[in-house]
Symmetry: none
Subunit: 227 residues, 4 copies
């Protein structure tokens, strides 16, 4: 699921032709569509390209998805991975420090979202929010707001335990999500064209962000920092 990041824009299909069970068709089409929509954008992707990448004919695509827009919606729906409930349980049951919880959250997020097609969806949608407002609404309801709740819970835990300084939660959630969004954005756009443009490895990027984040979040020691 964590597809290797292609360095080129034009995707090269190398799957052997005509060797699939038909049940796999929709999934293959979805994978192809996700990749191309994220890479090139919705409007710039031709359905024929999607079909070709999925090793089926153009007509077959329309057998499974009524229209290009329906395909986009399926792509988004497919990748929301409604796992927020279980993640919430993980947060509630976590026994380590809140700093460790934040680090763990970034790890899980990177594995399940950041380095995943699911991350690409965010990048894709952020270009299309204006063109597909209902889809935007759906995405917010299913992904962004539940995600924010999770983050809020983590921060509240840290503040309740005296590990994090007192913060307005509505503002503080963005401290966690901001590096995530920028990472996704970089990974699915600039990073594809200029893999070295970050100057450092993705791991170091995340580590640096989390480190500074936690330093900033830390409850103040007796001797304060002059800001």
């Amino acid at each position: 699921m964590s597809a290797a990041v292609p360095t080129s824009c034009t995707s090269n299909p190398k799957v052997p032709r005509r060797s699939r069970r038909k049940e796999a068709r929709p999934a293959e089409l979805l994978a192809a569509a996700t990749r191309l929509f994220v890479e090139k954008g919705y409007a710039a992707t031709r359905v024929e390209e999607v079909a070709a990448l999925a090793n089926v004919s153009k007509g077959t695509l329309f057998l499974y998805y009524a229209s290009k827009e329906a395909l986009l919606k399926a792509v988004v729906r497919e990748n929301i991975a409604g796992s927020f409930a279980e993640w919430q349980a993980e947060v509630d049951n976590f026994t380590g420090t809140s700093a460790a919880l934040v680090r763990y959250a970034f790890q899980v997020w990177q594995a399940r979202i950041g380095d995943t097609e699911a991350g690409g969806i965010y990048k894709l949608l952020s270009s299309e929010f204006c063109n597909f407002p209902e889809l935007a609404q759906f995405y917010f309801d299913e992904v962004i707001y539940p995600g924010n709740d999770l983050v809020r819970r983590i921060l509240a835990r840290g503040m309740a335990r005296g590990e994090f300084r007192q913060l307005d939660l509505n503002a503080a959630i963005h401290l966690i999500t901001t590096p995530m969004f920028t990472y996704i954005q970089w990974r699915n756009s600039i990073g594809m064209t200029f893999p070295d443009s970050l100057g450092i490895s993705p791991e170091v990027y995340i580590e640096t962000q989390v480190e500074n984040l936690l330093r900033g979040l830390a409850a103040l020691p007796p001797t304060t920092v002059s800001v």
Copy 2:
């Protein structure tokens, strides 16, 4: 600074038609194109829409820009606001604390980039890096890399003066730029459709980010924070 920007996606032209102002045309067209390209994306924007928003006919647009792609390039070139040289002088001549310099840098950035069309360009290009690699290269050379140099200079100053902890500059620049990128992204996509989706005001968002950033950057006091 340019044509007034309505908040909706579909723009309503109300300026009187048929006013001959050859000099004004390119700027008007550029403003219209910038707005629509940023809002809807390059491919989803029809040249006729751009012309209509600029209160001219389709043909007139082609009088000033040879093609839709040429218009895109002009939009990008127009908005790179090559002011990095003077900004660098400001940084070099700054006399306050490095924390104050960072705060000042965010203020200037927000006024000149983050809250202007120039910010939209980044959002636009981040969707199109793959489709226009030469343009991406140009943007990196003219904007991203010079911007990074500026940030590097700020951080180096703070470290040299003992105000910031010792950091790898290549990694640390992203501590500054990450909130900027996310802000731009939000402001030019989700923020247009769901202005309240941030939960807080843009000012509070920036303030919160900068506050935590500076706390994280601060040279450690005698008593260290346990991380």
Copy 3:
């Protein structure tokens, strides 16, 4: 040989629509294009007209030819009928008088070129040499120069056998080709609009030209004609 050619300029399609014959398409399109390009000229012919005459939609045309210009090139390439090699053999093996050979050459030329689409191509190109110089070069290399060589061979034979008077071959080839070019030109332009404008039948035209040509070419009898 191809689609029936009506005599009017605006063509009336009556073949049943929507018959799937992938193999037949290119030939049908080519026939339609040849006819319209010759009749109306390249620029004055709309691709939609070509498609309509071939009983397909506009889009179908582009399925087989990448652009209008590609269609023109295909039209030219299609009709060069590279039969010069076999014609040369015929000339070399001819056993009759050289006058008979000339008469025979005109017959063959009229049947294979003069009265066919191939002739129209010359008329078409003669209007477009300036607009498509590469195509002109191609046509010269493939048609005009090989054709001239053939004519040169015929004349050389007549002179070698003492049947024709001594002539500069470079000049004399035009004695043969001049009536051919004028015939083609007439047949594909004025002759379409004013079929009676010649005043005589095409057969008589050719016959008269050949008759006078041969009289002029004939080796002088003892008693010379005063000129």
Copy 4:
């Protein structure tokens, strides 16, 4: 009036800007239009090019000619040089041999038509007969048919004087006109792009054609040529 034949297709205007009396405008526009229409064809010539070559603005052209088609008609009308009446007198008063008369006719024709814009008109129209049938009719009535009458008169004289063999005049006129048409055609199309494609000089071409023509026309000497 006998403009030098340009070797390139894109005409290079070198007339000093803005230095004309306004009475000359129509003539300059006509000259420019003639040249471009002949070179590139009617449809492929843009009115702006014509205006530029005539050193006036696009708008000015429409001050003198109501439309592009009106310009074409003016070009044709302008160049018919209704001198057939005086030419007819010349023929009737000619005192030399009929062969000399034919030679003289070719000379005059070449100077007044063949090497002149007037010749280009024929080439132009031969591409447009189908698109402008009324113009074709006009041209036939004013040029072709009167020209044919003149030729007929020359041939009749030769036959009446026993210099030319007995011929059907309707067929025989084409013996004279055929080299003329081919010459014009070559000069205004292929000859512009490939000036050397004739292999010989235009003078030699004409001389060769006339020489052979006259040999063919000659009344048979006692000893006949076996054909």
